[in-house]
Assembly symmetry: C2
Amino acid sequence: MSGRLYIVGLGPADERWLTLEAQEALAQAQDLIGYEPYVARVPMREGQTRLASDNRVEIDRAREALERTAAGRIVAVVSGGDPGVFAMAAAVFEAVDHGPQAWRDLDIRVLPGVSAMQAAAARLGAPLGHDFCAISLSDNLKPWDVIEKRLEHAARGDFVIALYNPASRARPGRIADAFALLRRFLPGETFVSLAKSVGREKEEILLTQLADVDPAQVDMSTLVVIGASGTRRIARQGARDWVYTSRKAT
Amino acid sequence: MSGRLYIVGLGPADERWLTLEAQEALAQAQDLIGYEPYVARVPMREGQTRLASDNRVEIDRAREALERTAAGRIVAVVSGGDPGVFAMAAAVFEAVDHGPQAWRDLDIRVLPGVSAMQAAAARLGAPLGHDFCAISLSDNLKPWDVIEKRLEHAARGDFVIALYNPASRARPGRIADAFALLRRFLPGETFVSLAKSVGREKEEILLTQLADVDPAQVDMSTLVVIGASGTRRIARQGARDWVYTSRKAT
């Protein structure tokens, strides 16, 4: 008998951003697999096996999930945000691509979720209201010059830019390099937001501009949003400004 | 007494992609405002006013919602997908920006949802697993040369590309122009998917490549996904191939 593998997005914070579909899959799963803080967010259920692991072993985690599915288990791999955006879904399919032929016959279902950039955008107003891109600054798996090329084209194409993984213990300076590169193509008054721990208790959202942004304020929990020429800031009194990107391109 | 305005994303299809937060807001709203097919997707509730309108009056709809909120009502503006991505949130904040000062004091909350591109990606595998961008081909509000510039930089930057609004009654040919432009920068074997009515009864997903894609198969319900150099196709027997974008850039 063959099992089923759900690749589930938990959203960026608590269960209010969870979809009905994701809730049902989590309730059905016999085995729950994921990076420890994500597994911890799923309510305990009797009889459910929980396999929490370190962040840097995505491919091992994917293989473990596939092996259990092939053995007939109902498995859920959990990710924060949307599992399809810089998260576990790509790792699982990469493992399938390089794994045994039989894995191609498995019942694998990706369940979309709210990504960190969408949650940050919702808090800010509507900065992703027009053409945008998402770039991961992690250079664990891709060379830095590829990242530089993408940043350059994102800026020259006048996209709103969401930066994922802007900092790491191994390379804390990469966000400073990214801001320096973007300053070569974009005006100093370009809108920048640092959205930290969105939806969680420690949530903190800073609004600034490219000329002034301080890379030291960016940590691993930060989603960086960089505006386009059509991004506007609505001044408010006694409350944080709203930000949106006009649908009329300039 | 002041009201509250929720800008709610219903996801691309039925309620299984609805978040808990969105469900609560829809239950709480006294007035429901939106494009008719979206309003129709929300279960009827006694005492709730429903204002369904045509698709081309986004700004009027936004103003109506803001006026009712200012009058003390609990209002929900509903969008398909994520309201922050090519949808109502930007229209509401644009109306605030150009509206009476008092609108800046309103309690406005954007509730993120699953976007069409995430739902399409989930069905395909994990094509958005690495750097990607989203471009609307609608030229109602922006000149076509801006769209061309963005397509060119998206291609040269080796982004996975999600194309929204690829067709319209007014200009059915723009997707053909977009494919022609992309062919100047990308190899013919570049992965292309046409994902139609994802999550709905008429769902249809085609996998092809840039050299072969037929623009006549693109309609208003289609989300077009164009792969990057790292996008891989996993051949399967008796089932649609899976597609993912490798986290290792080439």
